[in-house]
Amino acid sequence: MTKPVPAPPRAPRRRPRGGAWARYARALRTPRGITATVLLLVLVALALLAPVLWPGGYDEQTRDALAPPSAEHWLGTDEFGRDILTRTIYGLRTDLSLILTAVPVSLVIGTLLGLSGYLSSWFGSLMQRVLDIILGFPGLILGIIIVLVIGPGWTALFFAIVIAGLPGFGRLARGGLLSEQQREYVLAARTLGVNKSTVMVRHILPNVVDPLLVQASIYMVVAIFIEAGLSIVGLGINPPKPSLGAMLNVGARYVETLPSYVLGPGAVLLLLALAFTLLSDALNQAATRR
């Protein structure tokens, strides 16, 4: 039996020119990057232009409830006679406004908390313990308490999403830190006299950022589910404002009679997830490791 011949070695990699930003910009020109960017831009544009494209707003109730898709209502009408397509786009608008603000904030704070262990080990340990507590808190309960204390609405959801995301980002950052801080290049930099915070930002951070970007892309979608879960117990975005999660909740009850109610928000959610996934993939491929 002959051993399979190994594939010929790949062409030697060229180290790309330019700093980190240039690398990320180049990443966006890959096929994945382009698809992701276009998709996201389309979705964001739809969301921003919603008041222009559908000036009637999201609360035009009529007597024609739960109507099947037709020329006038492409996805049909909901239980109060409102156009589902309109509400889907406005729901996208609400959700984007939440996740595009809350998730990055959570990412930044969480990463700083996780990496703080490098600067000061006792502060880092303390932060890890705080993250332990937040993480251990039963998720929906934490959300319910935050919303009930602040009062249901956009602000409460913002805080709920930020706080709930901290442990994920913090733990990943710390995990990466533990791997990287013993590596030769770090020890070399310290020997050369570079101070700790510069090492942390300039050297460790870029190498730790891959799983963080992946987690961020995942968390964008999870954040929508957090809002959906809180909507089930009546603590989500205040009606009549729509949100994708709340629409999925209600639509699930009509999945056999009016499937377009679920398909609309579901498809938009899928496209969002796809866009964020492709984006984080593209950015990851760009980052050089050494």
Binding site: K3, P4, P6, A7, P9, R13, S125, R129, D132, I133, L135, G136, F137, P138, G139, L140, I141, I144, I145, L148, V149, P167, G168, R171, L172, G175, G176, L178, S179, Q182, R183, D210, P211, V214, Q215, S217, I218, V221, V222, F225, A228, G229, I232, V233, G245, L248, A252, V255, V262, G266, L269, L270, L272, A273, L274, T277, S280, N284, Q285, R289
Partner: protein
């Protein structure tokens, strides 16, 4: 490793004490009077006040806190305000159900998460990778309750092969118990496994570019062995962290899944407790959940150090 555990003990105790104070205070920050919920929808203010006294809620907070803590050491975890029963009894009734679901879901999570991740990370042909990634993204975008609902429609209504409502303990009847667990565990694990799979895949793709992989290829090591022994082992780190995080979710509240499949678990108890300001129940559940999360974190760090010798414990 024993030394590591002993070194961590003080911080664990610190976390538990801090958590007990937070678990005591935070629910009391939520506006509303639990006595009003107990009194019912048509009660007069006099009835509510009388019930408040009966439940011991007008004693000073410090007294209530130490009364609770003192009770914990003698095994009395407090008395639920809604049900007037010991919290330990309420939790004991539900613990088995939640643990069984969490364990099976965790097994599925590891299998599907790492399995899908390996498939995506090592797939050579583009269409295979696209297919796997497409499935993954699908799971990622699917809210847990929708997955549960679809599973109910498929296997409970369209093809009546699995039960979709209620539960039987695996300890009482392994066969039925497992059948009742199957759909809920899948509904719980599949969406979560997408996140884990993504982490594994990304790590594998990154590691694949390392020098030692080139060396192994040059040496003529077969591809699957490179994948498993070299790449996978080094890329499991973030996946282990993610699974550790998720395990806390699994145990402390697979709330939505329990609700859809009519399972009587801890998640339901926690939600009804939060909505009726049932302080004793919330206090115990929160401290318990944090404790479990801390243990899970310890296990994660130990596993990480076993996988990656560069990680030093502590």
């Amino acid at each position: 490793m024993i030394r590591y555990l002993i070194r961590r003990l003080p911080s664990i105790v610190l976390v538990l004490v801090a958590t007990s104070v937070i678990a005591f205070l935070l629910p009391r920050l939520v506006p509303g009077d639990p006595a009003a919920a107990v009194a019912g929808p048509d009660a007069s203010p006099q009835t509510i006040a009388a019930i408040r006294t009966q439940l011991g809620l007008d004693k000073p907070l410090i007294n209530q806190y130490f009364h609770w803590i003192g009770g914990v050491f003698t095994g009395d975890l407090g008395q639920s305000l809604q049900f007037q029963r010991p919290v330990s009894e309420l939790i004991g009734d539900r613990l088995g159900s939640t643990v069984q679901l969490a364990l099976l879901a965790a097994i599925f999570l590891v299998i599907f998460g790492i399995g899908l991740g390996i498939l995506a990370g090592s797939a050579r042909s583009r269409w295979a990778r696209t297919l796997v990634e497409g499935t993954n993204t699908g799971f990622l975008a699917a809210p847990p309750f929708l997955v549960g609902l679809l599973l109910i429609l498929l296997f409970g209504v369209a093809i009546r092969i699995l039960p979709t409502s209620g539960e039987v303990s695996v300890l009482d009847n392994p066969n039925f118990g497992f059948q009742y667990l199957l759909l809920p565990a899948l509904a719980l694990a599949l969406p979560m496994s997408a996140g884990v799979a993504r982490l594994v895949q990304t790590s594998m793709q990154a590691i694949r570019q390392e020098d030692f992989v080139d060396l192994a290829v040059a040496k003529g090591v077969p591809p699957w062995r490179i994948n498993i022994r070299h790449i996978l082992r080094n890329s499991l780190g973030p996946a282990v962290v993610a699974i550790g995080i998720r395990f806390g979710d699994l145990l402390a509240g697979a709330v939505v899944i329990e609700a859809i499949f009519a399972r009587n678990g801890l998640g339901q108890l926690a939600v009804s407790g939060a909505q009726s300001n049932d302080y004793p129940v919330m206090q115990v559940l929160v401290v318990g959940a944090v404790f479990i999360a801390v243990v899970a974190q310890l296990l994660t760090e130990i596993t990480l150090s076993a996988l990656d010798p560069r990680v030093r414990l502590g």
